[in-house]
């Protein structure tokens, strides 16, 4: 009985195995192209060239190269590090078996390996949604939990009741506030959360937890004050007014107006797709039109909405910088991007989601950073926020995270390394990682500054049942499969005997066939 494959998510994997030749791979690709109407693949069979300046892959190469010596020395230390790398790289296909092996030998681990192993195992349990196993493991290893911030955070989040706030879990073993726990329990915490926050000084984390505290009370004035403390320290434009209420606060927030950029010679194209976005597209578009960098065009393509999105878009047509398009059917965000990149007239291209709010100097700062640093591409960070204004913390206690949607680059970058994968989700992450692996991390930069409010709502793709990706690290099976296939492709390259990434997408029904788009006439 076979015990599973590296590609266990792909049921027909064995069919791909032999004979393995370039022509058989091309035949499979041709069949996919004919069936799904894909004319260009995201990896077009080009030679797999990884930049020397890509620390994650370089680290893996070094780790692998030292395997025999390391395993002869301390087998488990090597396995723990490999599991950590696998999860960080999203090689979920490899993580599962390694975790099982490590778990079986857990009681044999040397003392110094226990906490690193426990952390790697917990990350795996969470990524796979194995919460009962996580709880059992944490209770069994409570001594390690008391010593380590990550284990303590997971214990506080998963092993205590959702409807109670226990002050003893509000502070991590290191003495820092347990922002993830506090933010998750803010609604039930009441004033009991304040002593912890008052004792923590005023780092951004504390200020944004206080903003969350006042968001739960609907106190717009104090909310704005604590948000602005964080924005001000980052040199960002401040919030001028905000009204927390029953509907999405992003409809009721306004920033100060930064000065208009005087010499905006280069046209920047911003691409946005909409799909049933009537409730959010208004503020998403207005936040782009209010940019301090004025020389922009906004290409909006409605991707088969069945709600009032088109009517909402119609209201926004007055600005000549907007160009409207419509997909014939629903092809997904990345199909829209692939269709609109050739239509873009700008020297630079970036993107905006239809439920995100861009800070008014986002384009200005990203473009300046790109030019000043001589980078090939630049992304910024974002704050994920709820409709009620609360900042979403991740289980690693971070609140600002990379916003791959914000990737801004000269159009040649997209022409050379595109198209985006025709996936229902996640193709921007794959594209970003592909750029980093090909061009190096010095060329593809991440600004450590949030410039977007990204809406975390029940209707977000990251929350949709079956394709979730949550802030604790859980990835739905379809996401794990796609992420693993893409990571494997970056790591190993296209191999005639291995399934393509499209095979993984088809297996999970997340390949989105491209459709035609048409540009809509501007009303006279």
């Amino acid at each position: 009985m076979s015990r599973g494959y590296s590609f266990e998510y792909i049921s027909g994997f064995r069919d791909y195995l032999l004979p393995a030749s370039e022509s058989s791979r091309n035949e499979r690709r041709s069949a996919i192209a004919a069936k799904w109407g894909i004319s260009r693949f995201a990896d077009r069979g080009e030679t797999h060239e990884v930049s020397r300046n890509h620390p994650p892959l370089a680290a893996l190469r070094n780790h692998n190269a030292g395997m025999s010596r390391a395993v002869h020395g301390d087998r488990f230390a090597w396995i723990i590090e490999t599991l950590r790398i696998a999860i960080a790289m999203e090689r979920f296909d490899a993580a599962e078996g390694m975790a099982n092996y490590l778990l079986a030998f857990f009681d044999d681990l040397a003392k110094g390996n226990v906490i690193p192993a426990a952390k790697a195992l917990c990350r795996k349990f969470i990524a796979f949604g194995e919460i009962d196993q996580l709880r059992h493991f944490l209770f069994k290893n409570i001594a390690a939990v008391k010593k380590d911030d990550s284990l303590f955070t997971w214990f506080s989040a998963y092993c205590t009741g959702n409807t109670e706030f226990l002050p003893e879990f509000a502070t991590l073993p290191s003495g820092k506030p347990n922002a993830y726990y506090i933010s998750k329990r803010m609604a039930v915490a009441g004033d009991r959360v304040l002593p912890t926050l008052m004792a923590a000084g005023s780092p951004p984390t504390t200020n944004l937890l206080l903003a969350n505290f006042f968001a739960t009370r609907g106190d717009s004035s104090l909310y704005r004050m604590f948000v602005n403390r964080v924005l001000g320290k980052q040199g960002a434009t401040l919030v001028r007014k905000v009204a927390l209420g029953e509907d999405n606060f992003l409809n009721r927030i306004a920033f100060e107006r930064p000065p208009v950029v005087p010499d905006a010679h280069d046209l920047v194209s911003i691409i946005m797709s909409t799909h049933n976005s009537a409730a959010t597209v208004g503020y998403a578009v207005r936040s782009i039109l209010a940019q301090s960098y004025r020389n922009i065009e906004l290409l909006i393509c409605d991707d088969g909405s069945s709600d009032a999105t088109l009517a909402e878009l119609d209201k926004l047509r007055g600005d000549p910088r907007i160009r409207m398009f419509r997909s014939h059917g629903n092809q997904g965000t990345y199909g829209v991007r692939n269709s609109l990149i050739p239509e873009a007239r700008g020297a630079y291209i970036t993107f905006q989601d239809s439920d995100d709010f861009a800070f008014p100097d986002r384009i200005e700062r990203q473009l300046a950073f790109l030019k000043n640093e001589g980078a090939a591409a630049v992304a910024s960070q974002w704050f994920r926020v709820t409709a009620g204004g609360e900042f979403v913390f991740s289980s690693d206690q971070a609140v600002a995270r990379i916003a791959v949607v914000s990737l801004l680059a000269p159009r040649e970058v997209f022409e050379r390394f595109g198209p985006y994968r025709q996936a229902r989700f996640g193709a921007d992450t794959e594209f970003y990682e592909k750029l980093r692996s090909r061009l190096g991390v010095d060329a593809v930069r991440l600004m450590q500054t949030p410039m977007i409010f990204g809406l975390a709502s029940a209707t977000s793709l990251t929350r949709s049942v079956g394709i979730e990706a949550t802030e604790d690290g859980y990835r739905a099976p379809a996401r794990r499969c796609y992420a693993a296939a893409a990571a494997r492709s970056r790591h190993i390259g296209e191999h005639p005997g291995l399934p393509t990434v499209e095979d993984a997408l088809i297996e999970h029904g997340i390949l989105m066939p491209p459709t035609h788009i048409e540009e809509l006439e501007v009303a006279p």
Partner: protein, 239 residues
């Protein structure tokens, strides 16, 4: 149980083969030797031992010749390389090791490999318990070298399964074991228990080292600690 030895050779090893055969022949009921590319004259130079049977293939089978013979019931099959020198108690010790294993569905050997769980085709991405080096405790592995292993005859892969793997029999054999739930254990021994006679590069050194990338899809099926049967791994290490 009958003790059967199986190996494949070629004229380049004529100098080694008689030494090897004469050292192991007393330990076996039968030894079957596949003579790839041998001329009649070269055949005449081979030692005539009562329990050694030579087979002339119609075409060069290379290392898959080890698998050409279909074992009968009640046999322990020992796959061997022609350039190794085996100790006088080799067969007896290997059978004793096998009988201590926690499962009957096992192959045991001396050259064990565990690939990286994130294997990318480079030969350094492996843990190797080399056959002539000491190993203190038994360990379950992804792959055994087919130059010094034994298993019950009914677990030997059919020749047809091996036929297309002339230059990478170890990989194909490991794939067969993985697909058929056969554990592979590398057994403990002192350094030098098995001796490599030959300074000439073996197939492993000249071919496999260079061509792991080509076997990548096949190796990835069973590569890594995560692909080992953890219950069996625990049981093997506790023996």
């Amino acid at each position: 149980m009958k003790r059967i030895g199986q190996l494949a050779t070629y004229p380049g090893r004529l100098a080694n083969l008689p030494v090897m055969l004469e050292s192991v022949a007393p330990q076996f009921d039968e030894i079957h030797v596949m003579l790839n590319q041998f001329t009649k004259r070269q055949q005449l130079a081979l030692p005539k031992l009562a329990n050694v049977h030579y087979v002339i293939p119609k075409s060069d089978l290379k290392d898959t010749g080890k698998f050409w013979r279909k074992p009968g019931a009640g046999e322990y099959v020992f796959l061997m390389d022609d350039d190794l020198t085996f100790p006088a108690d080799y067969v007896e010790q290997m059978i004793a090791f096998y009988q201590r294993m926690p499962s009957a569905r096992m192959a045991i050997g001396l050259h064990g490999v565990i690939y990286s769980d994130l294997f990318e085709g480079t030969p350094s991405s492996r843990f190797v318990a080399k056959f002539d080096k000491a190993l203190n405790n038994p360990i379950l592995v992804n792959q055994l070298g087919t130059g010094c292993l034994m298993l019950p005859g009914e677990l030997l892969p059919p020749f047809e399964f091996m036929r297309s793997a002339q230059r990478f029999v170890d990989v194909r054999f490991a794939r067969y074991c993985h697909e058929n739930g056969i554990g592979m254990a590398c057994v403990p021994r002192p350094a030098g228990w098995i001796v490599d006679q030959n300074a000439e590069d073996s197939i492993f050194e000249t071919y496999t080292r260079e061509r792991h990338g080509e076997q990548l899809p096949e190796i990835m099926q069973f590569a890594g600690f995560g692909k080992l049967d953890v219950r069996l791994a625990l049981a093997v290490e506790r023996t």
